[in-house]
């Protein structure tokens, strides 16, 4: 993972649980509590160690924490240097998620070690959409569900998970009900 992801975890813990909690987590993982270099790739194992220790420190389950970090990630990315891409990617949840692969492909041109997930959005009858997700990393489904939540808040929409099916390692499908009448919200 690039340092930006670890920075998001750091910012989340710092904001929700305070700098002491982050210092304890880093102490247990044996890593410097300072900022990570956003554009440098770090070992995935380090990110998972941080999440595992963060869950222990905060008393949350790893899944619940991943969901919260996924939700926070959207707000973190929107405030980062990559924020304009979030705005350009779409004016609403479905449009943005549908364009996410194109956005990731452009980022990968500059950050070649990026291994982004892939999203495919299919419009369904009524106000539901079907989202297909594929990643080289397994076990991040709660993070993706947090992303749905964060994106819905970013675009002032409501997103309800109707159905989830794991299709394989790192592969899943969700049926979502998407509402367009929510007010612009911020969970950050």
């Amino acid at each position: 993972m690039y340092g930006m992801v670890n920075n998001a975890i750091r910012a989340f813990i710092d904001k929700k649980h305070g700098p002491d909690a982050w210092a304890r987590i880093c102490d247990r993982v044996a890593v410097d509590p300072g900022e990570f270099a956003a554009l440098l790739p770090y070992d995935d194992a380090l990110t998972m160690k941080l999440v595992t220790q963060a869950a222990k420190t905060t008393g949350m389950s790893v899944e619940a924490l991943l969901t919260e970090i996924g939700r926070y990630w959207v707000h973190f990315a929107a405030r980062s240097s990559f924020g304009p891409l979030l705005a350009f990617g779409g004016a609403h949840f479905e449009e943005f998620l549908g364009n996410l692969d194109a956005i990731h492909s452009k980022i990968k041109a500059s950050l070649p070690k990026l291994a982004p997930p892939s999203f495919r959005v299919e419009a369904m009858p009524g106000d539901t959409v079907r989202v297909f997700y594929r990643s080289t990393r397994d076990g991040l489904f709660p993070f993706v569900e947090g992303l749905f939540k964060g994106l819905s808040e970013h675009f002032g929409q409501t997103v309800e998970i109707l159905d989830f099916e794991k299709l394989g390692p790192g592969e899943a499908r969700w049926n979502l009900r998407v509402g367009h009448n929510g007010a612009q919200a911020s969970a950050a």
């Binding site: 554009l39 240097s81 350009f88």
Partner: protein, 388 residues
Amino acid sequence: MAISHEPAEIRVETLIDCCPFSFVVDGAGRLARLGSYLAKHYPEIAGRPYEEVFACESVQAERPSGAAPDAGTRERVALRVRGAEDLQIVGAFLPLSRQTDGSLFVGTVSPKQITKVTDYGLTMSDFAPFDVSADFAMMAQVNEAVLKDTRLLNEHLTAARDEAVRARKKIEAVALVDCLSGLANRAAFQQILDGAAIDQDPPKPDEPCSMLLIDIDNFKPVNDQYGHAFGDRLIKSIGDRIRRAIDGSAAAYRIGGDEFAVILRGRSPYQARLCAVEILRQVHEPHRIQDKRISIRASAGLASRMFGINDLDSLYKAADIALYEAKRDKSHALQIYTAGMGRRELDKKLLERDLVEAVGKEELEVFIRPQFDIHSGALWGGEALARW
């Protein structure tokens, strides 16, 4: 499948739907249809005369403002909505059809404004699927983000490097100071001799420079008589006196237990001598330590740059010879190095060398003289003499 080469009529609606920045100008010169971006952001322009709405600039040649080129010339033009001239659209006018008057404008965001797409509220969906401007816009945003983060990383690294340099200097400064006298220590003196001092350049070739070496006479008995704590205070007092006697152009070092060195730069040999005399005068003034007045004597050797003695190392050796003279000849506390001293030193060194050679060549002859007790007449020892 056979490909027809007959000209095909393309449905205007299809093009308009695909191209959010396109529009149709009818035969009367009015805006008949608008692409999705224009319809969304400038709905009031629908039906109005084209020339009232848009300012038109030819990309290739001067054109009267507002005048549209003839459709079909494929001339590349840049359009701005009058009164809201923040967004520039670049494209060309095409004939609408063979049967209908009017033209179709097909265009996209100007390359000049590709980095500002989000300022205009544009998203990827505002671009035609085949319009690579959207890709360029994203790449420009990624580049900007990467540049911004790289700058931040660079600032962090620069700050960390500066901090490390400051910390190293602080450590070095502490490591190069004699904690007793507060003067620079032997390591600092060696650095300046080696030309390795960070904050001091070696003397320039034409810069006057002298070195003074001071040795406190009979310092050991002071330690023995009054104790080491007293001796330490005396060293500090001597250091303070030396520091007071010199100015910023001179640097003082404690290079041994009771030895000091002063490098005097930018002064003529005469001025250096005056300074050396003043230093010695202050050192010789009685020191008040632990309610005791104590007077000490010091010997000093001064060497100034001269022919054959240019670098600091040579100056050090010359000043050391002069100091040796001062120690030997107690009548003068300060001795100035002269070429004669150098010759004497050279003679001494030649003698040492010849002696070593003589031993190797067995040129020394040893004579042993027995010694007897004059009372008892008993042999009690002997005396060996070497002759060369």
